[in-house]
């Protein structure tokens, strides 16, 4: 008898505690037309944080009925936190950072994101026409891009000159010669942060972009079956490159951006001649170079691969944007419009040193390296999204594993593709 009562008391307390927890929801629109926008971003640098705060305050001034609650979240925590918060529309942020690709499409399929297709202004649609597609799922618009970060090789002009390389290589044959010349001059040719895996996997992405025809590319994004031979060829190209030992000594234990011994640090300190990265590289250099910046940092596109069926002038990169959650108030769309107006996009460049998504704001880019990136971008036929963003984390993780395994001598090009098949079983 007592036992039943004890259990009863415990249950009652459980129920009480649970119901207390569940009561605390958030309310968006009050009776008097006042609206709160919860805004999540990942800018944690001093200038980045200040930019986002300032953005919120300016928007509030323009729309007195709106309060923007800004929350900065560490990049590493962001995906997990967002995913958890989106499970319940009460805890979901109204405006949140989105990188497009598979993740956005998963959220769309779970009915968590607002369809913006008919809501965005004409001006936004034309001024951001080259990057909007990143935030599209099944032909519908779900987010607004704020920046783009095309990838390619960042290199030290001084070290290239020292090794007698006249101009940056345009194809793989020239690239191999450049690597050889750098090695002859006693300079480690390429810095690679393989500890983080993705910088190594990026080589495979780029070779795949050059080897695989756009049609193959697009159909594989849907089927996630890497059956075409071009995918194995991409691995073979990387294996061939790795066999010329172009990477810095100990690249398997080198991280991408932490400290002077990271791959970015090696380049910044002239201990390696180049690195394959996204266009956030010049900003990373600021913290790592001896005097706060690297004067001789140049950029060239990923070399052409002769005989490849892929688009030889295509670029690959990322583009961060913002999206509204499905139950966000309508002011959310105004906020997105506001984020990408010309002034705010120019400010964005100043705060983050990254290329603004709005075309009319790109004239603000005054960093010489980024100007080179923009020049290459202008000539590129298209920009594909990073493969791991496109294919989703499951495939991205498998590619990371396969590429790192191959570079450490465990497995070959075929095993990389096999890893993606195994990954498909897991999720």
């Amino acid at each position: 008898m007592m036992r039943v009562k004890t259990i009863g008391a415990a249950l009652l307390t459980c129920v009480t505690v649970l119901s207390l927890g569940a009561c605390g929801g958030s309310d968006h629109a009050g009776k008097d037309g006042k609206v709160t926008l919860n805004f999540w971003h990942i800018s944690t640098t001093a200038s980045g944080k200040a930019y986002q705060e300032n953005l919120a305050r300016k928007f509030e001034k323009k729309h007195p009925n709106v309060t923007v609650k800004v929350q900065a979240i560490q990049t590493e925590d962001y995906d997990g936190k967002l995913q958890t918060a989106m499970q319940d529309s009460n805890s979901a942020p109204d405006v949140f950072l989105s990188r497009g690709g598979q993740k956005l499409s998963d959220m769309v399929e779970a009915g968590q994101v607002m369809d913006l297709s008919d809501k965005l202004s004409k001006s936004v649609q034309s001024r951001l026409s080259d990057t909007l597609s990143v935030q599209k799922v099944h032909g519908k618009q779900y987010g607004v891009p704020v920046m783009l970060s095309p990838g390619g090789f960042f290199y030290s002009r001084d070290l290239f000159k020292q090794a007698g390389i006249e101009q940056p290589p345009a194809n793989m044959a020239e690239f191999s010669q450049a690597v050889q010349k750098l090695k002859d001059a006693g300079i480690p040719p390429i810095a690679l942060g393989a500890k983080d895996a993705w910088p190594a996997a990026h080589y495979w992405y780029w070779f795949a972009l050059r080897e695989c025809a756009p049609a193959t590319f697009n159909s594989t994004v849907k089927t996630k079956k890497f059956e075409d031979k071009c995918w194995t060829k991409a691995g073979q190209d990387l294996d061939d490159l790795a066999k010329t030992t172009p990477f810095n000594e100990g690249f398997l234990t080198t991280s991408a951006a932490q400290g002077a011994n990271s791959s970015a640090g090696l380049l910044a300190n002239h201990k390696a001649a180049m690195e394959l990265m996204g266009s956030w590289e010049p900003m990373n250099m600021m913290d790592l170079a001896p005097n706060g910046k690297m004067d001789d940092l140049g950029f060239f596109a990923f070399p052409e691969v002769s005989g490849g069926a892929g688009d030889q002038s295509a670029m690959m990169g990322g583009s961060d944007g913002y999206a509204c959650s499905v139950n966000a108030p309508k002011e959310c769309v105004d906020f997105l419009d506001f984020i990408v107006n010309k002034d705010n996009q120019e400010e964005y460049y100043k705060a983050f040193s990254s290329i603004p998504a709005a075309k009319d704001a790109r004239s603000a880019v005054d960093n010489p390296t980024l100007q080179e990136v923009l020049a290459v971008y202008a000539k590129a036929s298209s920009m594909s999204l990073w493969l791991d963003t496109q294919f989703g984390q499951n495939v991205g993780n498998a590619l990371n594993t396969g590429v790192v395994n191959m570079l450490s001598g465990k497995g070959g090009p075929k095993d990389i593709v096999k890893a993606t098949d195994q990954a498909a079983q897991k999720g």
Partner: protein
């Protein structure tokens, strides 16, 4: 004839027990038992972690569990965990006993050395990991010092032949201080008279240690070994920081927990990840229960069982 006072007393006692244990029971049920069952439930789905598993995932029964147990990468990781558990015991426990015996003697600067031995344990895993990973890189401080001494360095982290021993070294360096403190505490509880009596009987130092210290220290050693085994089963942070998810696999230092983070969280396969968590839980539980049944039973008598 029952004593009415006894009934009220026992009733009051029960109310007291209920009142005092309820918060702990709620927390235990809510944050330990409930999540375990939820993990089992999620583990039955192919699910990306968006929406609910029943509507956005795909029910696949025990497929995830079968896949995990069949995955050679996971099998290797389990092997690493058990190897680390055994080697940690072999290295750390004797070392800790020796240090404790030494530090139990009276000599100048004993307090300072006791503190120094304990310092690595106090430093957070992240700092220890970052520090050692920087020093052990191919172009790091360790190899630079070796080169100055005219010795050839090695790739301490990425070379699969060396990596596991590097990990064991760092683990031992970090945790031996903790076991030394445990052993020292154990030594304090051994009555001085026993040693005096032994000395009168003409026993030498090592005889005393073998016949008095070790047997009386045994309960402490059993608890220390238990903590060490559990720690080895759950090992994650040092491997994650020094090797990272991907290189730990090729270097041969991956653990069940790094496998879970890589295949669950990084791959965004939350159903699969939950299934891994359940398997890790079951393996750890089994190890803990077996250890308690066969090794710890004497020490825990009356604590976890009905008193006799």
């Amino acid at each position: 004839m029952r004593d009415p006072n006894a009934i009220t007393k026992s009733r009051r006692e029960r109310v007291e027990i209920t009142l005092l244990s309820t918060p702990a029971i709620i927390i235990f049920l809510g944050f330990v038992i409930f999540p375990v069952f939820m993990a089992v439930y999620y583990g039955l789905f192919k699910w990306k972690g968006f929406g609910s598993p029943s509507s956005n995932g795909q029910f696949i029964g025990i497929d995830n569990f079968v896949l995990i147990l069949k995955d050679p990468v996971f099998q290797k990781a389990v092997g690493h965990n058990f190897f680390i558990a055994v080697m940690s015991l072999i290295i750390q426990i004797p070392l800790a006993i020796l240090f404790a015996l030494l530090l139990n003697q009276k000599f100048k600067g004993r307090g300072l050395i006791r503190t120094l031995i304990f310092v690595p344990y106090v430093i957070s895993e992240v700092i220890v990991g970052t520090g050692w990973s920087l020093m052990l890189q191919s172009k790091g401080a360790v190899n630079a010092v070796l080169a100055k001494l005219g010795l050839a360095g090695a790739d301490w982290i990425a070379n699969p032949k060396i990596a596991m021993w590097t990990l064991l070294f760092v683990i031992s360096w970090k945790y031996v201080g903790f076991y030394v403190i445990l052993m020292l505490a154990g030594l304090q509880s051994i009555p001085e008279e026993l040693y005096e009596a032994a000395a009168v009987d003409g026993a030498d130092f090592w005889q005393m240690q073998r016949s008095i210290t070790l047997p009386l220290l045994a309960p402490t050693v059993r608890i220390a070994a238990f903590l060490s085994i559990i720690g080895s089963m759950q090992l994650f942070d040092l491997v994650y920081i020094i090797w990272g998810q991907y290189v730990s696999d090729t270097a041969g230092t991956s653990t069940m927990a790094t496998y879970m983070v890589r295949e669950g969280r990084l791959a965004s396969n939350y159903g699969y990840g939950n299934a891994i968590a359940v398997i890790i839980f079951l393996i750890s539980l089994l190890v803990a229960l077996l250890y308690q049944k066969f090794v710890l039973s004497k020490d825990l008598e009356g604590g976890l069982t009905e008193s006799k």
